[in-house]
Amino acid sequence: MEFLSSIINGLSLGAMYAMIALGYTMVYGIAKMLNFAHGDVITLGAYTVVIVSSTVLVPAINLPVWAGFIAAVLVCAAVGVLVEFVAYKPLRRASSLAVLITAIGVSYFLQNFFQIVFGTSTKNFPRVPLFNETWMIGSLPLNSGSFFTLIFSVLIMIALTFFVKKTQTGRAMLAVSEDRSAAQLMGVNVNRTISVTFAIGSALAAVAGFCYGYTYTGIVPTTGAMPGIKAFVAAVLGGIGSIPGAFVGGLALGIVEYLSQIYISTQWSNVIVFGILIVVLLVKPTGLLGKKRSEKV
């Protein structure tokens, strides 16, 4: 019974990683860069909900929590596009190392920005009705929040798969990912497609920030950093660039982390999680569902 309950909690943690990993993997697939500032967008999403839906940061605004959720999605999408435009777009022809270092710089910028604007003390995330209950399924206690996190991630995965496979914008994203100049010959505006990718990835990070908020309740300027890095591990585990891979990798990593917390030790769980990254890179660098793709010259 305890094992089953651990699996469910692990899946829920993994669902959060999956949402973040989807953003990592889409941006990697299409813009060919690792956006290490992606985790900090989660923090921004969580803070946005705190601003809009509680009196903690801005007492004058206290809207229902779902208004905060929508605001977080919009704010994160806009900031994601802005960051890409300001920091990454000028480096389109630069070496990937330059882009990587810039992404780390953006990450530190955002963390310090949060620290100055929101302070270093923990800010409480507003309560979400229905999300903090314990449901009994037979004799198995189930946290309703964990259940909703899983539902969110499955819905996102379905919507995203539909979007990428069935819409012209989605096809354009896949085309840019595979062959940028051939996509241009089809009339695809590469810059606009990359912006759309950042908007979607950042919106997903906002949803993850919302889930993080009602699950762990306390928000600090570095809240998103660790889940961001772990989601990166999940994306690599699933095969970076692959959308189903990010989902599977996220869930798998969540289960591994939760089980090692319960059955091994909470102190060792991070060691195990990052150990997975090393093992994957050594044994199967393309990940579980990644394809080997020869680089085009």
């Binding site: 496979k165 012209q168 096809r171 354009a172 896949l174 085309a175 595979e178 062959d179 100049s181 051939a182 996509a183 241009q184 010959l185 089809m186 009339g187 695809v188 505006n189 590469v190 394809k291």
Partner: protein, 236 residues
């Protein structure tokens, strides 16, 4: 007025001047062949005309409009589409998705359906394999897909870069037959080829390119009988 006019085009690759002042014209309804050996600069010209590579000097005029150095994704909207060298189909997507991407700039749903029907009619194999992943097609089928994909934009002028490269003789004949059909249906064609014999056999006029310069031009049939062409390009 020429549908496509290239005036004194100069293109650099780094510090190397790859195209040293090339001029040519394509009239409405023609098939024009640009022939030359490997490294003569044929593909560079095609990429520059389509906005994938910047021109250093000179002009590219499409229907009299200066399109030099405008972004590649805007050129297809002006009625010019390219089948690039090496086909460059989207290997990981289905045949259908490739065709849909060919129609990326089209907003008219009804006419788009008619185009899709006509492409399926011209290339029955694409209709049969519509759900197949494009990378699993044979080389010849991939060339058909690349051509079908380009036709999905309903271009007024079609640019083909080495359409016969790497194909079996059977498919080479098929490709040139289809190019002629496309032209007869009203699309102007600019063809770049190493297979000079084949290219000259369907073209109205041709330009011969050598190390970034046009060294000879004229009626395709006359060029086919030109002594220097026969020696250099037709292997006789």
């Amino acid at each position: 007025m020429a549908i496509l006019e290239v005036k004194n085009l100069k293109v650099n690759y780094g510090v190397i001047e790859a195209i040293k002042g090339v001029s040519f014209e394509v009239e409405q309804g023609e098939i024009i062949a640009l022939i030359g050996a490997n490294g003569a600069g044929k593909t560079t010209i095609m990429q520059t005309v389509n906005g994938l590579h910047p021109a250093k000097e000179g002009q590219v005029l499409l229907n009299g409009e200066n399109i030099t150095n405008i972004p590649a994704h805007k050129i297809i909207l002006k009625g010019m589409t390219q089948v690039p060298e090496g086909r460059r189909i989207f290997q990981e997507l289905t045949v259908f998705d490739n065709l849909m991407l060919g129609a990326y700039t089209r907003k008219d749903k009804k006419e788009f359906k008619a185009t899709l029907e006509s492409v399926y009619e011209k290339f029955p194999i694409l209709s049969e394999r519509n759900k197949q992943i494009a990378g699993t097609l044979s080389g010849g089928e991939q060339q058909m897909l690349a051509m079908g994909r380009a036709l999905m934009s309903h271009p007024r002028i079609l640019l083909l870069d080495e359409p016969s490269m790497g194909l079996s003789p059977l498919y080479v004949n098929e490709v040139f037959k289809i190019i002629r059909e496309i032209n007869e249906a009203g699309t102007t064609v600019l063809l770049v080829e190493q297979n000079a014999k084949k290219a000259l056999s369907i073209a109205n006029r041709a330009y011969v390119l050598e190390t970034g310069r046009i060294v000879l031009s004229g009626d395709a049939k006359e060029l086919m009988h030109d002594e220097s062409i026969r020696k250099a390009y037709l292997g006789e």
